[in-house]
Each structure stands twice: as C-alpha cells, then as structure tokens.
Amino acid sequence: MTPTAISPAPSTKTPTGSAPGWSGRAFTDQDRDAVLALFTEPDFYFRTWEPDTRSEREILELVGDDTRMLLADGQVVGLYALESEGSAHGCHYVLHLRLRASAPLLWWTSAYHEIVRAARWRHEIVRLAIRFAEFDERGLRTAYALGLTNEGTLSGVVVHDGRRQGKVFFSQIWKPES
C-alpha cells in the first residue's frame, strides 16, 4: 500500500497577535447554554456586578431583546448591546460589551472597533459611551488601550466586595459637521 502524504490539520486556534473574524447574531434559545456559561465567570460584568450569582431568569432579562451574541471565528466569546440614550435625534448611544475571560486584550479592542464600524454604517452616532467599574481591570485596560476619553468617575455607586466603589465613564464623540 502506498503511503499517502498526510498534511497537518489546519490549525483551529487563532494565532495570538491577530484579530479573529467577527460575526454576530441575535440571541435565540439555542444560545441559552452558551450565555449561561458566560455568566458563570466572576468578572463577566454585562449589565450586572455579580454575574456568577445571577439566576437564569435574571440573566435572560439582562440579555433582553437588544443583546447580540459576539462570535470570533464562529465561537461564542461574548455579548454586546448598543443602547440608545436620550432623544432619537441626539444619536447618543451606550455600549455594553463583555468578552469571556480567555479572550486577550486585542480581541476586546478589535471587537469594539468592529461593533462601532458596523453601527456607524447603519445609523448616525454622535456620542458613544462605555462605562466600567473601578474594579473591572479588563474593561479599564480596554478603555485605555482604545484611547477613549475618560470623563471621570462617579464614586460610590457600585457595591462590590463589601464596599462601595465607583463607575468610570468613557466616551467617544464624532462631531457632526452641521
């Protein structure tokens, strides 16, 4: 029998240092298990400061209608939601974005850029706000890496680890010409 040449199986891991191919979809029932698994991580601060102790009903309420699954190369790695703030003509939005713990910082910044690009493709954005708690290392590192404007910290509004901590406000503004 002639030995057939065997080529190495294509690597399924994204090499560190390059951003994955992003895709997204609305939440459906088949994503329920994946989403519940995401919330078991103690720092998956998606609209909550105590993610790992949230019950299933609460998690589904947090997800609501406007949350989208974030997929990197087809794998669920996080959630995001773009909420409108204020009047419709103001075009102000707030972004909730969370990736699972195993995602590197590059994925966070790359996901932010991709979400923003897609959103600005579909409607006008004048101001995009994103907020992280003072104790949210991953979130804060992302905000600094993206160069977002640090607008200040609202102190004492979040209870975590037995004490009151603050929320840090960041934003990005696209000034309209007219």
């Binding site: 992003w22 989208r68 991709e114 600005r120 006008e124």
Partner: protein
C-alpha cells in the same frame, strides 16, 4: 403561484443584509459582519400580509390601506436564489392586484445599494419620486426613491 403564507418555521427568511424596508432586498456583499440586518416581523393584524417563497425569501405587503387600496411592498431574497427573481416579482404584483385586490403597490429603493432596477421595471414598477437624505447607509445619509406600480383598469 409560488407564494405561501408565513409559518413560524419560516422565521429564518425574515432577516437579511440590505437596507431596512427596501422594496427589493437582495443580499449586499459589502455588509459589515456586525451590522444589524434588515428584519421584518410576522404580521399582527390585517394591515399586513406576509408570504414566503419556501426556502428562498419573503414578500411583505405592509401598511395596507383598504381605503386607498395600496400597500408598501418589501421583498427579501436569500443569497443563491436570484434566478427566481423575475418570477417572484410577477407573483408579487399578481397577488397584490388579484389576491388582495389593491390598486397600487409601492416601495423604497436605495440607489446607493445597487438595486436591481431591471427586475423592478420588468414587473411594471416605475420610479416616481426621490427623497434626499431619507436613510442612513454606509456611514452617511443617502437618497431613497419611491417606485410604484399601478394596476391598469
């Protein structure tokens, strides 16, 4: 006739990468991966009619006005079914005029999205008006046209 009434199992046909509310929604190649697709909801009352071409796409008659006997049409076609386009367009006008007994069918066409105006014209639609800055597309406000077909006699 190719059209069949909507069932919840056809849910997957109701979204697609084209401007929302577009008269003839064909998948756009240049669509950012995370951009919200156009989405149509199942009908809730008699001012809407939603039919599907099984596995291929949907036709929605929205804002049906039984006094003015007109409807705004939205069509969405999944990729890979464009060969059925001309036949689908004929079904759209046949059902609208003979099934719903309407006098006029109209819809929005976004020139910036490279619409298939040939298929629209073959089905009898004509460009009637232009509204500048009517929708946001590809990072800027763009013009939208109103195309319509009116029943003879």
């Amino acid at each position: 006739m190719m059209l069949r009434g909507y069932r919840s199992g056809d849910h997957g046909l109701l979204n697609g990468p084209w401007p929302p509310g577009e008269l003839l929604g064909l998948p756009l190649a240049e669509w950012p991966a995370l951009a919200e697709p156009a989405s149509v909801r199942p009908p809730t009352d008699d001012s809407e009619e939603l039919c599907v071409v099984p596995g291929a796409g949907f036709v929605r008659y929205a804002e049906i006005d039984w006094v003015h006997r007109r409807a705004r049409v939205e069509i969405g076609l999944r990729p890979g079914h464009t060969e059925a386009l001309d036949l689908l367009m004929k079904s759209v006008t046949t059902h609208g005029f003979l099934g719903l007994n309407l006098h006029r069918l109209h819809g929005w066409v976004t020139p910036a999205a490279n619409p298939a105006t040939g298929a629209l014209e073959s089905a009898g639609f004509r460009r009637e008006a232009s509204v500048p800055g009517n929708t946001w597309f590809d990072g800027r406000p763009v013009e939208r046209e109103i195309w319509a077909v009116v029943r003879d006699a």
